[in-house]
Symmetry: C2
Subunit: 405 residues, 2 copies
Amino acid sequence: MEALSAATQDEVRRHNLARILRRLHVGGPTSRSDLVAFTGLNRSTVGVLVAELADAGLVVEQAGATGSVGRPSLVVAPVPESAVAIAFDVRVERLVGAVVGFGGQVLARQEQVHRRSGFKPSTGVKQMVSMAHALVAAVPTGVRWIGTGVGVPGIVDLSDGLVRLAPNLGWVDAPLGEMVTEALEIDFGSSPATVIGNDADLGAVAEHVRGAAAGSRNVIYLSGEVGVGGGIVLDGRLMSSAGGYGGEVGHMVMNPLGEVCRCGSRGCWETMIGRDAIVRGAGLVAESAEVIDVVRAADLGDTQAKQSLADAGDWLGTGIGNLVNIFNPEVIVLGGHLGDLLPQVSGVLFDRVGNSIRPSREQVTVVAPGLGRDSTLIGAAEGVFASLLPDPLGALARSITLVPR
Amino acid sequence: MEALSAATQDEVRRHNLARILRRLHVGGPTSRSDLVAFTGLNRSTVGVLVAELADAGLVVEQAGATGSVGRPSLVVAPVPESAVAIAFDVRVERLVGAVVGFGGQVLARQEQVHRRSGFKPSTGVKQMVSMAHALVAAVPTGVRWIGTGVGVPGIVDLSDGLVRLAPNLGWVDAPLGEMVTEALEIDFGSSPATVIGNDADLGAVAEHVRGAAAGSRNVIYLSGEVGVGGGIVLDGRLMSSAGGYGGEVGHMVMNPLGEVCRCGSRGCWETMIGRDAIVRGAGLVAESAEVIDVVRAADLGDTQAKQSLADAGDWLGTGIGNLVNIFNPEVIVLGGHLGDLLPQVSGVLFDRVGNSIRPSREQVTVVAPGLGRDSTLIGAAEGVFASLLPDPLGALARSITLVPR
């Protein structure tokens, strides 16, 4: 068993390195003693691993906050510019981009509105490339680009970045991962890998790692981005499924006599709590108004707006009750326009959730996102950092040093 | 890192032992060369591990099937009597019990009908104890009893075997695990631990390990046992949730104007596809007729029975479509009375499932159970064997040698 045991030792070393990196990435600057306590390793082993990370430029040791008495202790701090992700959140009517550094710091952020119609995959890719240049121009020269992450409101094949179906964009079988990498390669001379993910999955990851659900192991993130999607974290990891297509809770049929959905089915949850339903229910024109406009109208006493919010809250609560029964999660995060609804509809919503089975209902909290509208954007960056943590030296070897044009 | 590495070596040994045990438990008699190929270990390591299992009495080496030429090769075979589980499936109107040996062989099986009303936890425990005696009388003297497994149609706290809620039995916060162990202890002088599980969870485990979903990683088992429950296996393991209460898909609200459910909510899936709804829809009296009676009536041309089955198939398909969208599983197994429906309603059912999102729909198969009505019973035994595999010597040390009264 010697060979096995040698392999295991190297695995143990990499595992410990990844744990330290993750701790710094999520928790920020940390003293050596806290790293010793966190990992359960001895001081000298932690010293060796930290030195390895410092040699790679990923961390520096610096004076930390002074304790109650005595000299300030040294803390190990992540260097944001040492490894950055370019992240995009492709929304139905908006593109948001950011450069996010190791440690989670947003170094630059941009957003741009577009019209839903005519926004083809190729249009999206063009806008991402031009936004990438604007973002790179806004960060210090010399940052190391380790990958690109893209969130899409649709069903994604994680193995090859193929967008199988994005009903609200009208995209079918678009090889987005390949397209983005190739376009960036042409423009920047070279490009690291691109990771494509479902917007709700990425939102769930971000809220779980550093948002409103930090510290919880079982989390559902509902994306409210025209349509409604679900990202599901179970026991700290994204839910497994046959093809990675699960979590489409917006297409849970809840009223078989309801309206026809963009997916082709009838009475999907999305047809009741999607943006268009809420806006139209308030007598406003979909595509030119947002849920927040309905909320404002209701605040001013508009009875049709109030009724539309009450209906949406009713269906939102009923569907959340279903998810409580099915998943027994600790936290449900209401993203996008669903978060805008929360303060307005909490009464009827919690009343409906109250119909779910007691033991599960008692364990759940329903909250607004901790990362505002950026859950998916930050999650897209986290998808890139997921490749850094297990193999930092490999990821840095494949990185590209960015200089503005 | 020496200490860590020593701990790791022992872990590796136990891990390999557990893999061999599991392979024999699930796959039956296996040649040493197949064990070498399966584990990736060398021949001598496999020899040492097999000798350890033989010393403990768990396996024997015997002449296997003769190959194409030459002498018959030796195979390692599980010894069923060396470690047995007593398993119970507590149904709403029936108690089923079995002694299941290591390797999955059913050594004895009993069942007994009871009335739903008045079937309290204490009544159930009394019947289990008396059935345990009948079962023990039917197996060879000297079998080693390693534990008791019980499946219940309700929500179970796995940590302490507390049945939080079993709506169709009217049980609330019944400490069933404790009650069963104590009652068996009084009667048998001593008792190993009892494992309580949700009936659908156990059904999912059994169908995944040795039933219709063997070989699939993402599986949903729907229990049709008066009510409707769900057991969900993701990436080969039971779904994780905050308290272990998830999977209650029968209480997914699908028609907010529907009938009041036993859970207190309205329009739950169970109110449309539960046994009582189907039987009543056919004009028969619930509690005295079964779904199979409706199927027989429809076969004889009864139009009301046909309509009831068609309605049930419609709702069953719509709900399965929801599960396909939410979980993207490879296999959905229709247990209990839902399996009886399948041949009758497959047309409308697959039509409705056809409304789910294409990439997920293309990956799913909907099937009847491979273990007939015994999925939960076998799953209850598997719950016991789950404690044998990682620590066979410990489990045997805690076992009790059974002799009939």
